[in-house]
Symmetry: C2
Subunit: 416 residues, 2 copies
């Protein structure tokens, strides 16, 4: 048995790229049996973002698909569809992240699935809520960052709109999917009842942006405009030191006054512009300017020693390279060197959180396309002969190699 809160839960995962795979990776890390069902072309995330040692095994794919099994089915064939339905009879959750209309076209709407598995938890992650006029618009991370106001926040700070340089919308909504599915499992455990979950990326990202930045427009009539000026101030950024950058967050009076002492400007503690939270908020530009002037006088390391003694919240600005050898991350073992059966030694990222009652105990390397088709189909009652016949007909693919050959012809077709 796997261990973890979701031990014994089976999830059929039709999702691809980041948003769905992130959600199911979390569920898998807590012990769920995640069966990644891929079309003949495979999850396009296998090919995005850099080539690894083998085609279809990109680094991003490796990081988002551990602890899952891969079953390769052509859902556009009658037989492939039938196999999926039999798999769903044994499942607790179905997750997908295409447009709802595509699921209906494939005969995989909620009602069709409920007929074979009445208590299924049916979770769709897609761009826009189905009750609104953008319901059919396609969505990708950068589209959602732009339409949800994330890029506009950057415009306020930088002068022109810009994306956050990782797939923020996919990641945020993937995390949200993890709690929604777990909530539904809890509900089912109490009541026996499954349900449909709809997770629109747009509405979720607007929520993240606006809970923070609706600001004085929260009131009706508005007491002022949108946008928290402290967060959006161009001066709110890592501060150059003699040899790098430092991050400081001195919010309370105690911290700010300690910072003034550290800067050797004790008179600022009683300066009415800076003595209280409210005063510093009103004079945030001048406050940031004074900090910047001071920080330029010493190295990051010198400041960190001074700040540590005075318990002023601060940290050096790490680069991706310095993270790879960060001593604290080494202490906690966040990066784990593991041997992948086909991809060689890789740096896996271990679960960041600790649950004293335990999480999944084994580690399953990210699967090659279709590597588990034969095993999983035998588990649900197909004979070796039936599987071989379906593989010959093209409705299922039993190994990585055949599927990989099919990649070039199928890849564009499946992401329409």
């Amino acid at each position: 048995m796997s261990g973890g809160a979701l031990e014994g839960i089976r999830i059929i995962d039709l999702s691809s790229v980041v948003v769905g795979p992130l959600a199911t990776q979390i569920l898998a890390d807590h012990g769920a049996d995640v069966i990644k069902v891929e079309g003949p072309g495979g999850d396009i995330g296998r090919y995005l973002a850099g080539k690894g040692r083998n085609d279809g095994m990109s680094p991003k794919y490796l990081h988002l698909n551990r602890n899952k099994r891969s079953v390769c089915l052509d859902l556009k064939t009658t037989q492939g569809h039938r196999v999926l339905m039999r798999l769903l009879e044994t499942a607790d959750v179905l997750l997908w992240n295409v447009r709802p209309a595509s699921m209906e076209r494939l005969g995989l709407g909620y009602d069709a699935i409920r007929r074979v598995k009445p208590d299924i938890i049916y979770c769709g992650m897609f761009g826009f809520g189905q009750a609104g006029r953008y319901r059919d618009m396609p969505a990708y991370d950068s589209i959602i960052q732009g339409v949800s106001g994330v890029a506009d926040l950057n415009r306020r700070v930088l002068g022109a709109p810009a994306y956050v340089p990782f797939v923020l919308a996919d990641r945020t909504v993937g995390l949200i999917g993890a709690h929604l599915i777990t909530m539904a499992l809890l509900h089912r455990m109490k009541t026996g009842e499954g349900q449909r979950i709809e997770v629109p990326m747009y509405e979720n990202m607007v929520t993240q942006v606006m809970t923070e930045h609706m600001y004085l427009s929260t009131f009706d009539p508005p007491l002022g405009g949108t946008g928290d000026p402290r967060v959006l101030d161009p001066g709110n950024r890592p501060i150059p030191t003699l040899d790098g950058y430092i991050c400081i967050s001195a919010n309370t009076d105690t911290q700010a006054h300690a910072l003034f002492d550290a800067m050797e400007r004790p008179e600022l503690k009683t300066d009415p512009r800076f003595t209280t939270v409210a005063a510093r908020f009103r004079n945030v530009r001048e406050y940031f300017r004074l900090r910047r002037e001071a920080m330029a006088m010493r190295t990051t390391q010198e400041w960190m020693e001074i700040f540590r003694r005075r318990d002023i919240p601060a940290a050096p600005c790490n680069t991706l390279e310095s993270l790879m050898s960060d001593p604290h991350l080494n202490d906690v073992g966040l990066f784990q060197k593991r041997e992948h059966p086909t991809e060689g030694a890789i740096m896996d990222i271990a679960p960041a959180n600790t649950m004293s009652a335990g999480m999944r105990k084994d580690w399953i390397p990210a699967p090659r396309l279709g590597q588990d088709t034969a095993n999983v189909l035998e588990e649900i009652g197909y004979t070796k002969e039936e599987i071989a016949k379906m593989a010959a007909g093209g409705s299922v693919r039993v190994a990585g190699d055949a599927a990989r050959r099919a990649f070039n012809s199928d890849r564009t077709r499946r992401h329409e």
Copy 2:
């Protein structure tokens, strides 16, 4: 009863500002009875980010604390501590977001709580994993953005490190806390066993950054450097049109070829630099340059009509103001005008997701400091006389007004 998957679950919430309150707001939206236990100064989030109609009721606080009740206790007094312990006997979850050493100092370590409530789910959200050398470092959102590599990603795109202009680390870790607590509730329902959960912000944010950007350094020995060049390319940003900005995400061959047709550059479809995903990835700068040139020729609206016909994923770049009147958000009712009993009419942000089995049915406006102290204490068996006596002694505060008066003297003390 509240309705929702967590109906009947009681959460004692000692957390403040964003990370913990975001997690408990989600749990509350699913029906949990969240009791926000605040010190005499109140959650500092009540005062950050702009003044609302009344002191201590800032817009950000209003958006993160609906569906909760507020109990005001001075945990530094013996009596206040005793009241919390009695409250915990009736609770399922305790959530906090200070440094672990502060919890121990307050006599609120895991072992102390387990003595009164053996199956408690004890969840701490803090800066750095307790098995590593940064364990005692203070943490705030911008500190974590800097140390976890988020600011460095911006450096690669923009030339100098910058924070993402919302409290990304708090929000990400708050969402993660929601699924971890729900997992633990599921585990307890199966086994009767509580547990301790540790959620370090640093390790979680490094995970978000590095699953995406460890890139070719995932392999050992590395096949190349860190950083997904497609995401980090300075050309990967909203594109200026004649009258604004547009976001395009044409990833598959079908989409990219449709884009070339829309740009009236059909010859690019067979140009070996752009014909496949892999080719466009290799020539990403030139691909982005050609897109930029074309987009400058028409208005956003003109392009959106062309793209809609060809099913090319694209969206206009919304501003925070245009979001407030977005017709799709109006269709789905994301922004709900509600009457707050003391703050007047406010724009609440409704839950973005749909669970067909239901979520919380009632709406409780974000509470004033200590407004529920008397009710909650009576619920757990204190008499009116006992409560009045404790209030007179200062260990509990029974109303918003008394607490608000205490704010100026207590505010710096409690955030040490």
